[in-house]
Symmetry: C2
Subunit: 345 residues, 2 copies
C-alpha cells in the first residue's frame, strides 16, 4: 500500500501525510512529540507563547523525538482598541453572578513579529505555518531564508491564490467544519463559508502547490476522501483533542462526543467553531457588541475558569474521535486511510 | 473498473450510482429523461405539481426512455396562516419601486396527500423520495405497498435514525453545501448544520440502509470522496443545473460560476441555499419577519419575474459544473469518478 499522492511527503519528509493541527491552548510538547512518533508532522501552537517559551518547547520536543516540527503563528492585524462598554455590559450579569470584576486585560493573541522571527531563525523548524494570512514581506523572506517550508491557510480559492502568489510552499484548505478559529483573512462573507467537499477541489484547481485538507476529517474515511478530492495531506485537530496528551479540561473532553458545534465570536471576537457553552446559549453565538479579534478575550478573562465561560473548540467530526495516545492514533489513522483507499478500486 | 459499493445499484437497478436531484422549479421531464439515458436515477420534482401534472410528466418520461424514475414530494406540516404584515412591510418599497401590488397568494408548496398518493399507486414509480420528513404512517404504507423504493432525506444522524426506524429503504445524507432547501425536520439548530465530510460517515455509522451522499459534490472527485466516506450513491443537483435541459433562467445559469452561495429564508420561509440576489443583499439573508415555510412565497409572488427577487438556488460546488447535456454529463461524471477511484490505491 502506498499513498496516492506523495507531494507533501516529498516536501516535508514525514512518514505519513498527516499534520497534527497546532490548536493554541490544547496542543503542546506532549501532543507534538506523540504525533511525530506516529510519523506525522507535529505542530507547536506559538500564538500564545513568548519567544522564550517557543525556544524551550522546541528544545523539549527535539530532546524526545526526531522528525519535522511545524511552528504555527498568527498573522492578524491588531485592531485599534475599540469601545468595550457594550461588551462589558453584556457580561456584567456574569461578573455579578460569579463575584468577579473586569480587571486589567490579560495577555492577548499577538501576531508574528521580528522577535518571534528571530527565534525561528535560531531554532530552525522544518515547517512554519501561518493563520490569518501571512506576515510582512520582510518577515516572510526571513522565515523562508531560514530553510523552513512555509504553509498558509485558506478558506476560499481566492485566499489560496493570494497565498501562492506570495510564495508559500503549501496551502491548507480549511473547510468550515474545522474546530477553532476560521483563518478567513480576505473579507469573504462568513455566511458563504465553504464545506471541505466543495472547497478542496476548488482550491486544488486554483493553485499549483500541494494542498493540505482540514476541517471535518475524523477518521481514515475522511483522510481517504481528502485524497480523492485532490489533497496531498490532511491536517487533523479535533481527532487529536481526544488524545490523553491534549491539554483540554475534562469538561471539554466529555463534550466532544455530543457534536452540535457552531461558530461563535464571543470568546475572541473572531469566528471560531466549538461546542455550545452557557455563554453561547445565553447570548446567542454571534453578537455585534463583541470587540474585534482578538480583543474580546480581555473582558472574559475574569471568567476564564468558570464552566460555561471558557471556549471548548471542536470540529464537526468530534463524535468520530477515539481516545488513543497521539502516536498510536496517528499510526491507526494512516493504516485505516490506506485500508479505505485499497478497497475503493 | 467497478463501483466499490453496489448496495444502491442492487436496490434501484440503475447503471450508475447517481441520483439526479429533483429540484422543484429547475428539473422536469427533459432533465429526468437525460439523466436516465445516462444511466442515473432520474427524478421528477412533484412538490409544485398537481396530481394530473405528475401523471402527465411520468407518461412523458416513460414514452421517451426506459429506466427507474424517482418522484419527489414534500412532507412539511402546513403552518397556521401567521401575521404577514411585518413581511409585507419589508417588501413594500419593492412593490412601490416595481409598481406591483400584493395580490391573492399564488400556489404554495403543498405536502404529499392522499390524492397524490393515489397517483403514485397509479403510475408506480420505481422510487419515491420525500423531503422534510415522511408522510403519515398510512400514506407511507400505501407508497411502500405500491412497490416503490422509499428514500428519506437526513441532515443529521438523528434524522437518519428517525427515517430508518420508520422503514425507508435508503437515506440521503444532505450536507449543508447542498443547493435549495435544507430538508431539516427534527428541529436541529441551523447554526450547527453539518458539512458533508462530517455528516456522511456519522450517518453511515448510524443506519444500516444504504446512504446517498448529497451536497457540494461537483465532479468525479466528489463522487469518489463520497464512496470513500461510505456512501452507496450520490445525489447531484447543482451539477445538473448547468445542463441545457434544466429550466433555470439565463441570469441564474450565468451566476453559477460565481459561487458565494448562502442560506436564506426570504423566498419561502425555509432555509435554502442559493446565489445572493438583490433581495438577499438588501435585507440580509435571514430575517425574523419572514412567515414560516412555505408561506413567505405568497407575498413575493407579485415580484416573481423581477430580477433580484426570484431565488437562484445553487450548491457550493456550482463553480465546478460544466454545461453538458444531462445524458452526457451523467456518463462523464461516472467515468471520471471511476478514474479517480482507480488512481487511489
Amino acid at each position: 500500500m502506498a499513498w496516492p499522492n506523495r507531494r507533501f511527503l516529498d516536501l516535508v519528509g514525514t512518514e505519513v501525510p498527516i499534520v497534527q493541527a497546532p490548536m493554541a491552548g490544547a496542543g503542546g510538547v506532549d501532543l507534538c512529540v506523540g504525533a511525530i512518533e506516529g510519523g506525522a508532522l507535529g505542530s507547536l501552537p506559538c500564538g500564545l507563547l513568548t519567544p522564550d517559551e517557543v525556544r524551550a518547547q522546541v528544545s523539549a520536543v527535539r530532546e524526545r523525538v526526531r522528525g519535522p516540527i511545524n511552528l504555527n503563528f498568527f498573522c492578524h492585524t491588531m485592531p485599534e482598541g475599540g469601545d468595550e462598554a457594550p461588551w462589558k455590559a453584556l457580561l456584567r450579569p456574569y461578573y455579578d453572578e460569579f463575584g468577579v470584576a473586569p480587571g486589567p486585560p490579560g495577555p492577548l493573541r499577538m501576531p508574528f513579529d521580528p522577535a518571534m522571527c528571530g527565534i525561528v531563525e535560531e531554532v530552525r523548524p522544518e515547517v512554519v505555518s501561518f493563520h490569518f494570512g501571512l506576515p510582512s514581506e520582510e518577515l516572510l523572506r526571513r522565515v523562508k531564508a531560514s530553510g523552513a517550508v512555509v504553509i498558509g491557510n485558506a478558506t476560499t480559492p481566492e485566499e489560496a491564490r493570494w497565498l501562492e502568489a506570495r510564495g508559500v510552499d503549501a496551502v491548507i484548505a480549511q473547510g468550515f467544519e474545522a474546530g477553532g478559529h476560521s483563518g478567513r483573512f480576505l473579507g469573504s462573507d462568513p455566511a458563504a463559508a465553504l464545506g471541505l467537499i466543495a472547497l478542496l477541489p476548488q482550491v486544488v484547481d486554483s493553485v499549483s502547490v500541494p494542498v493540505i485538507a482540514a476541517g471535518g476529517i475524523g477518521d481514515g474515511r475522511g483522510i481517504a476522501a481528502a485524497f480523492a478530492l485532490g489533497a496531498s495531506a490532511v491536517q487533523l485537530g479535533t481527532a487529536y483533542l481526544h488524545c490523553p496528551e491534549s491539554l483540554i479540561r475534562p469538561e471539554h473532553r466529555a463534550v466532544l462526543a455530543e457534536g452540535g458545534t457552531l461558530f461563535t465570536n464571543l470568546f475572541s471576537g473572531g469566528l471560531a467553531r466549538g461546542a455550545p457553552t452557557r455563554l453561547v446559549r445565553d447570548l446567542g453565538p454571534v453578537r455585534a457588541e463583541v470587540p474585534p479579534y482578538p480583543l474580546a478575550a480581555a473582558a472574559l478573562a475574569p471568567l476564564k475558569n468558570v464552566s460555561g465561560f471558557t471556549p471548548m473548540w471542536a470540529g464537526q467530526s468530534a463524535p468520530l474521535g477515539r481516545a488513543l495516545p497521539a502516536a498510536e492514533l496517528t499510526r491507526s489513522l494512516a493504516a485505516d486511510a490506506l485500508a479505505v483507499l485499497g478497497r475503493l478500486s
